[in-house]
């Protein structure tokens, strides 16, 4: 197993290098640079001074040199300094990470909480109106963009309950109750589409398992339907569902960008947007690289979990 994990990690390296090159190149393709943004519209700055400022940040060097300088830093654990705030990039990310993690895991929690029972019901009541209902609701949830749903939720709760999303973020340790109030709507908005995917996955996986012979055997033994479903069928049906949960968790890290903007949450999604607006290259690169690494690690974790859940799976 250790060898497998090591191999997977090594395989991830070219992927991450590829991503870093693409991100580096793309940030430089956006017209305007960080110096333009720093000067804003009204700095009284001559062309020469502007070039001096560029040189100060190393923008006057050829792109591949700039890239190598940055990559060298990253490898040695130095992700650079934010050009916007002069703070180290890892500090900026670490500062925002708790918000994004909480949002990601709460969304996933709500999604799973709703999706698995719904998926099971849809599978058991296959062919019924209930199944049709579950299927169409999940299709709708899947087709609704999360920012749109988020805006709808804000409008709905403020119109009907006079309940406005809180204006400023409060951390869980400061005030758990307010914190949960802040997170509930964005988590639902973000979790809806994922819950739809998981519902459909649970349903089809469950249907397949229910047709297996060992389920028939269990029933023949005279076990109650409840025990058949929960003890025998569900365990096996959940294995593919876990893959989906894993992959979607990685996706969520990317999906928070828009939702954090809509709900005014200071997470890494907002950090990314602000950095792009301000052409804060080191932070953009840092955030994207961070999300890429997280994605790779989560997928690895899912694969490892597989082996644990299904002893037939062996990685050698």
């Amino acid at each position: 197993m250790t060898a497998y994990i090591a191999r997977r990690l090594v395989q991830a390296i070219p992927v991450l290098i590829g991503i870093s090159i693409v991100v580096f190149g793309m940030t430089r393709l956006i017209p305007g640079d960080a110096v333009d943004m720093m000067i804003g519209i009204e700095g009284q700055v001559s062309d020469e001074q502007r070039q001096e400022m560029r040189a100060l940040f190393g923008f006057d060097q050829p792109l591949h040199i700039q890239y190598l300088n940055w990559a060298q830093g990253v490898v040695t654990g130095n992700m650079g300094i934010s050009m916007r705030t002069s703070q180290p990039v890892d500090y900026e990310i670490a500062n925002r990470l708790p918000v994004t993690l909480q949002l990601t895991f709460l969304s996933m929690f709500f999604a799973v909480l709703i999706a698995i029972p719904l998926g099971i019901i849809a599978a058991i009541k296959s062919g019924s109106r209930t199944e049709a209902g579950v299927q169409s609701v999940s299709l709708l949830a899947l087709a609704t963009p999360n920012f749109f749903l988020g805006t709808l939720l804000i409008l709905f709760t403020s119109r009907t309950f006079g309940w406005f999303p809180s204006a400023s973020y409060v951390s869980f340790t400061d005030d758990p109750w307010r914190n949960m109030q802040i997170f509930i709507l964005p988590s639902i908005a973000l979790g809806a589409a994922i819950s739809a995917i998981i519902t459909r996955m649970t349903r089809s996986s469950m249907l397949e398992i229910l047709g297996r012979e060992y389920v028939t055997t269990a029933r023949a033994k005279g076990l109650s339907e409840r025990v058949v479903i929960s003890r025998h069928a569900l365990k096996n049906a959940l294995i593919p569902v876990i893959t989906v949960v894993g992959v979607q968790t990685g996706q969520l890290l990317g999906g928070v960008i828009i939702i954090e903007e809509v709900f005014n949450l200071p997470g890494i999604g907002r950090l990314a947007v602000q950095s792009i607006e301000r052409r804060d290259y080191p932070v953009i690169q840092g955030v994207v690289l961070f999300v890429a690494v997280a994605f790779v690690l989560i997928n690895l974790l899912v694969d490892v979990l597989y082996a644990y859940l299904d002893p037939r799976i062996r990685y050698n």
Binding site: I30, P31, G32, D33, D36, M37, M38, I39, G40, I41, E42, G43, Q44, V45, S46, D47, E48, Q49, R50, E52, M53, L56, R84, T85, S86, Q87, E92, N95, R96, I154, S158, F164, P165, S166, A167, S168, Y169, E261, V262, N264, P266, R270, L271, Q274, E277, R278, R279
Partner: protein, 579 residues
């Protein structure tokens, strides 16, 4: 507020010209200011129905609110509908200032570090301006008044001698001396720092210190704007020890100024906290214990915050939001120095012909822009902010009266009577830039000019403005620059790196240089009068459209708030909260 009220108020404001709402408070401040005033234009008679404004230049004692009743009689233009105006209502009810409390301010953008010499954005400036003081500051009339500077003397055209206050302490207890002043200015112009506004003080040849409280600035050549630039918040007096200890002044830990509040904490994109500095030199100030500066980037969340009483004062940009909130809250409507304008690209055909640019200037109707983009809540403006002492009244500009026939004549002369296409760029970052583009598009149809609008992302627009230059018209908002030179030289001198219109007129260059070198105030006034008139009617590199207000809904317990038109929140030092 109904639209009728609005009309009355607007016409009122227009009739008092540049001495509109905010400026009257400035006068009051001047009355109390006494020794603090550097330049004093004798217009006091017109002042005064805003009694709560504590004069922030009087350091001896917290100013008691003046009695309103006397002043109203002197103020013929304003007594009619005072009662309808929330702001005045609130202020008439003011009592003795009370100490203590935390004010919760809802602001829209995140600061980008707190180094006053490096930062160029208002989000940083509006925080560090409470932490640091400057030698001078601008009052509500955009007149320069003393702050850390006790008095100064112009020895000759290039030599200025400053006496600084002797009772000033930094937040860490260190005493302010001339050494700190010298260090701060030298830091600003140090080429190694590459600070963006080195232009302001780059002509400093030397700073000499005589004793603890006197320093003499010697310039390489006469440079009149110099003294006004010392009043901008970026020209802060900082502590050398902090720079040496921390490398720069970006972090909270490195913030050590002489201002009324200490910066205590900042959580990225969430909030900054500032606490009152007990030993601040303006005696009795500040009243507040604490400022909780909340970053709420979404306008709707700021509106929600004031509604839910999670904020005491917030900034709203959307005029309609302000109008809705006016039914529940006191909405402070503040005249500021921000101006919306269109830059004309003088490098490209057909706008390289001044007659074509003049034709465009004659073809537009500014009230149309004000009504469409700002629901009437703005005023026509020239090349300088309305309140600037150097500003020429817009009535004196010929092109400010719409004249389609004249426009057509000019186009005929230039050979463009059949019309042409123009490519306009604007960024949706500022909604009014885009709505102005649409108004311009429809107004220019009258002279057969077809405007195509392209919306660009903000950073892309800045790049297009400076480097790419693939546009005929570019819409943008400009704000405070401290000195008439700041509004003109950098944008219109043919050698300037920020000459976005690309205009090159030898006569204009010469006038701009004279403006810089002329120290005599009356002579300078004449030079800038000529510059403004000829920019508006002859050269037309830009179309200044309007100067807008900014709206600040506040809870009723907030007293003493006003916004300095330089877009400064420094009146928070005079603000007090009613229990």
């Amino acid at each position: 507020m109904t639209f009728d009220d609005l009309d009355t108020r607007l016409s009122k404001t227009l009739s008092v010209g540049r001495f509109g709402k905010t400026t009257r408070r400035g006068f009051l401040k001047l009355v109390g200011a006494g020794t603090g005033t550097v330049a004093f234009s004798g217009l006091l008679a017109a002042c005064g129905d805003e009694p709560d404004v504590d004069d922030d230049d009087d350091e001896e004692e917290p100013a008691a609110p003046a009695d309103d009743s006397d002043d109203v009689a002197d103020e013929p233009v304003d007594d009619a509908d005072d009662a309808a105006d929330h702001e005045d209502d609130d202020e008439v009810a003011d009592g003795e200032p009370q100490y203590g409390g935390t004010i919760r301010v809802g602001f829209d953008t995140s600061p980008e570090g707190f180094d006053p010499h490096a930062a160029t954005n208002f989000a940083s400036l509006n925080i560090f301006e409470h932490v640091y003081d400057t030698m001078f500051e601008f009052d509500g009339d955009l007149e320069l008044v003393n702050s850390l500077c006790e008095s100064f003397e112009v020895v000759d055209e290039v030599t200025y001698q400053f006496e600084i206050r002797e009772d000033v302490l930094f937040h860490d207890g260190k005493e302010l001396t001339a050494e700190d002043v010298k260090y701060s200015f030298e830091r600003m112009i140090d080429p190694d720092n590459a600070f963006p506004r080195v232009e302001w003080f780059g002509r400093l040849e030397s700073i000499e210190i005589d004793g603890d409280y006197t320093c003499t600035f010697v310039l390489e050549e006469p440079f009149a704007p110099f003294i006004n630039f010392m009043g901008i918040q970026n020209s802060a007096i900082v502590d050398q020890n902090m720079v040496e200890e921390h490398g720069d002044l970006m972090s909270v830990e490195s913030a050590n100024g002489t201002g009324p509040f200490r910066l205590v904490s900042y959580q990225a994109d969430q909030e900054a906290r500032l606490e009152a500095f007990e030993d601040h030199w303006r005696e009795g100030l500040p009243y507040l214990d604490e400022i909780q500066w909340m970053i709420q980037s979404d306008e709707s969340s700021r509106v929600a915050a004031i509604r839910a009483d999670e904020a005491d004062i917030v900034r709203v940009f959307d005029v309609q939001n302000a109008q809705v909130l006016e039914e529940e809250f006191t909405v402070h409507q503040e005249s500021i120095t921000s101006r919306a304008l269109s830059i004309l690209n003088c490098r490209r055909e057909p706008l390289d012909d001044p007659r074509v640019r003049q034709a465009i200037a004659y073809a537009i109707d500014r009230q149309g822009f004000i009504d469409a983009a700002m629901f009437g809540e703005a005023e026509p403006v020239g090349f300088l902010p309305l309140a600037d002492p150097y500003a020429v009244s817009v009535d004196e500009f010929d092109t400010y009266t719409q004249d389609i026939d004249r426009a057509m004549e000019l186009l005929e002369e230039a050979g463009y009577e059949d019309g042409f296409d123009l490519h306009l760029v604007a960024s949706p970052q500022y909604a009014m830039d885009v709505s102005n583009a649409e108004v311009l598009q429809s107004q220019l149809q009258q002279i057969n000019v077809n405007v195509e609008i392209e919306q660009l992302e903000w950073g892309t627009l800045l790049n297009a403005m400076r480097e790419d230059r693939d546009w005929d018209i570019l819409n943008i908002i400009l704000t405070f620059q401290g000195d008439p030179d700041g509004y003109t030289y950098q944008y219109f001198h043919s050698d300037s790196g920020e000459n976005h219109p690309g205009i090159s007129e030898p006569e204009l260059d010469e006038l701009l240089e004279q403006g810089r070198q002329t120290v005599d105030e009356d002579e300078r006034m004449e030079i800038y009068e000529e510059i403004q008139k000829r920019l508006s009617d002859e050269w037309v590199p830009k179309l200044p459209l309007f100067s807008y207000y900014q709206n600040f809904p506040a809870q009723d317990r907030v007293h003493g708030w006003w916004m300095v038109p330089t877009i400064s929140y420094r009146s928070l030092r005079d603000v007090w909260l009613e229990d």
